[in-house]
């Protein structure tokens, strides 16, 4: 054991790569803020292109992908040096994307053009454009990589795109303005948040990938107008025991019990909470708070907010390096 720890420490000293980093896209500030996930200190803030929103990492954590919405491109940065390496074709107004577990392709929602663009991250080429509903936003990939789910905000559907032929095979109607989709790690269930409908749709997934709407989860906080309970980001623990839902202008994250699908708690965070990401091992959950220009760190086991850190202007998304 001692030996192991020693070699780990040596590795860290050699590469610096073991310090966890949270990358936060600041939609209005046009920057990316880098936060150390051990000390929770801001390490750096660098230019992220115009209107950076969706943000994700390559599976090995070496590359940072940013949807620079107003530049109509995906910008790719080195996660050590923060240098921009190249851009990827994304189609117009990329908002949110999901990366294949192998690292390629990226599946990108083009908000203005009712398309999902599939981009090869190695060849830097567009593999496919899939017409979807109006204002595509949420993107998720099934754990077996056979399905990509896109939610369209004005059409109010979750579209199930077959990754083998890029055809939409299923559509599920959900409540108004679906923003985000999240599979359970075992692939048996999908959660879709509806911002204006104020609900999270629970969709059961059959073995062949066929989705069935099971139920909708509503929210209620004493003293908060129901109109302000606007579900956006959703993150499920890998064992499915807890589902966290960011409630936008209600400034809270709802905690849903994975078995009963009941809301068990609401955690106060910053203002207008949108997207979230777990640290490796799911020890912490980090939320972006667009109106208070900060991120909140939630202790996942305790289900309590423990810290908030100022970042750039209007933080939108967050991605955290794997260990």
């Amino acid at each position: 054991m001692k030996h192991l720890m020693l070699s780990a420490a040596l590795c860290m000293a050699a590469t610096g790569a073991f310090a966890g980093k949270a990358f936060v896209s600041n939609e209005r500030g046009n920057t990316i803020t880098v936060v150390d996930t051990e000390t929770w200190e801001v390490l750096e803030e660098f230019e992220g292109g115009n209107r950076p929103r969706g943000i994700t990492l390559s599976p090995d954590g070496s590359l940072l992908y940013v949807c620079a919405s107003d530049d109509d491109t995906v910008r790719v940065f080195d996660t050590d040096t923060y240098e921009e390496l190249y851009t990827l074709p994304s189609g117009p107004d990329p908002e949110l994307f999901v990366i294949h577990p192998s690292g390629s392709p990226l599946y990108i929602a083009n908000e203005d053009d009712n398309l999902v663009t599939v981009t090869d991250t190695d060849a830097h080429t567009v593999l496919a454009e899939v017409p979807v509903g109006v204002e595509p936003e949420g993107m998720a990939i099934s754990p077996d990589s056979k399905w990509v789910v896109n939610t369209s905000e004005t059409t109010n559907m979750a579209h199930f795109i077959d990754t083998a032929d890029y055809e939409i095979k299923h559509n599920i109607l959900v409540d108004q303005r679906p923003r985000y989709a999240e599979y359970l790690d075992d692939g048996t269930r999908l959660f879709v948040s509806s911002e204006i409908g104020g609900t999270v749709s629970v969709i059961d997934i059959a073995e062949d990938g066929t989705p069935t709407l099971r139920q909708k989860i509503g929210f209620e906080v004493p003293g908060v107008l129901p109109e302000w309970l606007q579900p956006v980001g959703v993150k499920a623990k890998s064992d499915g025991s807890r589902i966290f839902v960011a409630l936008g202008p209600a400034n809270r994250v709802a905690v849903i019990d994975g078995a009963s699908l009941e809301v068990v708690d609401y955690i106060m965070v910053g203002q207008r909470v949108w997207q979230m990401a777990f640290t490796p091992g799911e020890e912490y959950l980090v939320t972006t708070n667009g109106n208070s220009n900060d991120i909140t760190v939630i202790d996942v086991a305790a289900e309590k907010a423990i810290k908030s850190i100022q970042v750039g202007q209007q933080p939108w998304g967050v991605a955290i390096t794997p260990n």
């Binding site: 109010n156 299923h170 409540d175 709407l213 139920q215 509503g218 929210f219 209620e220 109109e227 202008p249």
Partner: protein, 395 residues
């Protein structure tokens, strides 16, 4: 589950196959009545030729994109007409089999044309007329109101004034019937929210030259003297529904005060700089399609047709009665870039929606204001509540 979703779930549980069922065609019309009118005070307010129609074109695109997944298609025809020929245009649309008509017209034509439509079992959306009577004693069972009433507009302004603690109002109104109706709405709003109208002045419409080369010289001399020697007030409330003087008020007062209502801070359903709640996407789609900025008339027509599209999507029916019943039910909800769902008042067919307060450049605020509560929805603090409406057509 903390809230009940019984009916909503039943309606929404449609699982839609990608291949779609038999095609369903939904045909609608926008009938715009163009009235003889003088030029507006500002060139910015010149009416585009495709006013309202452009909103319908965008709605058709949006509805058809969704319809592709549902096996439904949407087509909206657009007709511009003079008031005299409006009835025959309406008959032609109905004879053509159209059962959904968005009306951009004044109150008189709205009632007459709705009655024509009723004979054919058609549903009408009022996208323009703000008169209270249409939502009360003169309501129609086949007439839904997308446009806010004068009471919703006045209440939106009044709530902001109260929030600012500007509760002493100088009410300056025009002399045309529409101006007086709007002034009534502000009197009603003052009573409703506890403001005091310390004094009223009526600026008579004598039909003067508005934009001639030296018109501003006359305005600069006349308006301040017209507004001198008033009781002390916090704010000037302008009621000029016919757009002949209010635009001049902000810098031509005797006592410098903010102006709200028909000038200064105005209550609107949309403006081209509105970005909150995803509206940027609406603006970019609209501008790409039409090559101009959106106007309220466009948004109202778009919203009417989106209401129709949403009801058809959820009910899988194009039958006007099924569609209207769904629209007026608790299950109906629609996102309209206003930060909360828009729904309908079952007692008079009025769409509930937040009202933007706009200074001709940015969204200054949005009503209902924080702290104005209602047992049903804060949106019902704007406009005619159930006990205040004499409408019985929906019972």
């Amino acid at each position: 589950m903390l809230r009940s979703f019984g009916p909503l779930l039943a309606a929404a549980c449609l699982m839609v196959s990608a291949t779609g069922a038999g095609a369903q065609e939904v045909r609608a019309a926008v009938l715009r009545v163009d009235y003889p009118s003088l030029l507006p005070i500002s060139r910015y307010d010149l009416r585009a030729e495709d006013l309202a129609f452009a909103g319908a074109a965008l709605a058709d695109e949006d509805n058809n994109t969704t319809g592709r997944f549902m096996g439904q298609s949407y087509e909206t025809v657009t007709v511009a007409t003079a008031p005299e020929t409006a009835p025959e245009e309406m008959r032609a649309l109905l004879d053509d089999g159209i059962r959904y008509v968005v009306l951009d017209a004044r109150a008189e034509e709205v009632t007459a044309l709705s009655d024509l439509a009723a004979e054919a079992g058609a549903l009408v959306f009022n996208a323009r007329a703000p008169e209270l009577a249409l939502r009360s004693e003169a309501c129609r069972a086949n007439l839904l109101h997308i446009a806010p009433s004068v009471a919703m507009q006045a209440d939106a302004v009044a709530q902001f004034a109260i929030w600012k603690q500007w509760d002493r109002w100088l009410l300056v109104s025009g002399s045309n019937p529409e101006d007086r109706a709007l002034a009534d709405a502000y009197r009603r709003a003052a009573r409703k929210f506890g403001a005091t109208i310390v004094e009223e002045r009526e600026f008579e419409d004598t039909g003067g030259a508005r934009r001639t080369d030296s018109g501003h010289v006359m305005v600069q001399r006349q308006l301040p003297t017209f507004l001198q020697d008033t009781e002390a007030h916090d704010v000037v409330i302008a009621a000029d529904a016919t757009d002949y003087f209010a635009a001049y008020l902000p810098y031509h007062l005797w006592t410098p005060r903010p102006v709200m209502g028909s000038a200064g801070l105005r209550p609107v359903t949309i403006h081209a700089a509105h970005e909150a709640w995803g509206a940027t996407q609406f603006q970019t789609r609209f501008e790409k399609l039409t090559r101009r900025h959106v106007q309220e008339e466009d948004y109202n027509a778009w919203l009417a047709l989106r209401v129709l599209g949403e009801a058809v999507t959820r009910t899988s029916s194009a039958d006007p009665q099924v569609v209207e019943d769904y629209i007026l039910s608790d299950a109906f909800e629609l996102a309209a870039f206003k930060g909360q769902k828009v729904t309908f008042r079952p007692w008079n067919g009025q769409l509930r929606q937040p009202i933007l307060l706009y200074d001709d450049r940015i969204t200054v605020s949005v009503s209902p204001q924080e702290g104005f509560l209602h047992q049903r929805s804060p949106l019902d603090t704007l406009g005619l509540d159930a006990p205040e409406s004499d409408c019985t057509a929906f019972q």
